[in-house]
Subunit: 193 residues, 4 copies
């Protein structure tokens, strides 16, 4: 355990700023101010702003991936897998709303940065892992047939769209209240007819 290191202080402060103001509107000075670190310390640990962003992004994505992986261990049906994808998504967002807001708005930004390739590689692995889990069921004809990239959007699109709105304070309904709905909708959308 131990108390959070200076490096973690900085990351946490940065995440809060990014979530509240957006990445571009967040200045190094704001992160410095909120973290209590000095500018020098900030650059000593990260080198530049881009790398703070990337570190946070990759850490966030990997948190979701870990949650998903834990779930995969307990699931063994075509239906369970699909529902898990949505359930984990909702649970992770509810647990990490700042991280979710940041990640949903910064993907393009990180992809275009010097660490873009690393992110794309991470995403490839992530999708590969999901595909690996789903393949047996797919081959067994458990899912409606459609291109892979469409499949992902059909499963996750509805919750993701709702999540964006919820995080922006644009919904009347709360995300927690429609967790089951989106889980069911996803399964209905891809189950074989």
């Amino acid at each position: 355990m131990g108390r959070p290191s200076r490096k973690d202080d900085i990351l946490q402060a940065a995440l809060a700023c990014f979530s509240e103001q957006g990445v571009d509107a967040t200045t190094i000075e704001m992160i410095r101010d909120r973290s209590g670190a000095s500018i020098g310390s900030l650059y000593h640990h990260f080198g530049n702003k881009e790398r703070i962003i990337a570190a946070l992004y990759l850490e966030g994505v990997s948190g979701y991936a870990r949650l998903l992986e834990a779930g995969f261990a307990k699931v063994d049906s075509a239906e369970g897998c699909i529902k898990l994808l949505v359930a984990c998504y909702v649970d992770w967002v509810l647990e990490n709303p700042d991280w979710a807001r940041f990640i949903l708005h910064s993907r393009g930004r990180v992809e275009a940065s010097e660490l873009g390739e690393q992110l794309r590689e991470t995403n490839r692995l992530h999708h590969g892992r999901i595909e690996e889990i789903l393949r047996p069921y797919r081959e067994r004809g458990a899912y409606r047939e459609m291109p892979r990239d469409c499949f992902v959007s059909v499963v996750i699109g509805p919750v993701q769209d709702f999540t964006r709105n919820w995080l922006a304070g644009r919904t009347r309904t709360s995300l927690a209240d429609c967790r089951e709905l989106f889980i069911q909708v996803a399964w209905d959308a891809v189950r074989a007819p």
Copy 2:
């Protein structure tokens, strides 16, 4: 008609820049350079950067609304309405990819600006209009029951997610090729059981 005015030159140049670089990364100088206008002219016509963004945003949204309105005139079934929402979305994106990219990434930005209220009002009207069209069918029990804000996400979420990926060059499948798929998926997802 006539040839495009200086004002239109500027808007078009701005849209191209926003689409390619993002709103924050686009400088007035870039727009000036691409439009061929002078800085003075630019400020003469729009006053500031925020208003260029807003003008473009509202014009884009209204283009989609007009397309939808034209469709509503020819449709008179619960199924037709839902399918129209998705079809128009796809058609508009295919026709205006730059505009789509810009709008999908700048909503939060514009909402937070001085023109945010105007945008929210526009959105209220837009959703109100759609609601007005759907209400008779909903009351008749043609659609699965769920909160309004979830309903919208269920209908548009899948295409929108796919569209984001397609616009970012992350899909293998092209948007045009899965138009029918997303239309059908949307209808299946909300039709009453």
Copy 3:
């Protein structure tokens, strides 16, 4: 004539700073302060510090070249040419001590910058021009034989070394007082035995 333009104000202020503090120790703020221009104006005209340096360097070199060219028109002997090279050097330095100090200390700096190639090209032309003037006499055997690059150092080396010391305040004798001496020394050093 008209009063000096903003651009000239900046160049003049920069030259004074460079001469007094050295190029590296001169900050943009110092130039701004001394020129009375704003930072924005400074960057509007020059783009970056490197380009202010280069503009000044090239202008300085070309001033000396013009002086030399004017002299060539009036000279028609092997001896006259050599003496002219040294005389012009001294006269130009006496007239432009700041420029001389700056140029003598910044050659490497400018050669290593993005404008290095332009400078090298300018130098090639300059040396080519001198060579063109000297060639007839050289072919006639008026000068001691030695490699071209050594010849230049033999002619200009003594004055240049003294000039460096004089500009740095390290000499007891003043440059003006030893003008004739260095002129004679140069001629004695390269005349054919």
Copy 4:
């Protein structure tokens, strides 16, 4: 002897950096990186950057002085002394090109630093020593009459100018190949008529 100490590692690394990048462009971090020492160690040994520069400068100058002193022991003519000055200069540069590049470009820098006085004192001693050697010959009328400060420039100016160009890679001829030429030129320039 023994293996080079940490302190020497640092000096050697600093010299390489200064020679390649120039003194101002060299950061403590570069020296740390190249020497393998830690920042703390670096400051433990030298206190600050200025003192690294000065240590290197003075050590370099004294190397040349030692070489010269060794030569003086074997020379006993007006001609021999002058030729020795140039010969030692060339030999020392050929042996220590990095040091030569550094010293030729940093004199002003060191003179302006907190150790400037020390350097000036060293130079006074150096010139005094040379003067002491030359005085008998001068009094005997072996050398052309001219102010002391001009005399030095006449003797050393040509080689020094050539050396600057050679170190910067601007010459076609190599320094070793024109050693004899510059030795002879120096003697011809100052011998009594």
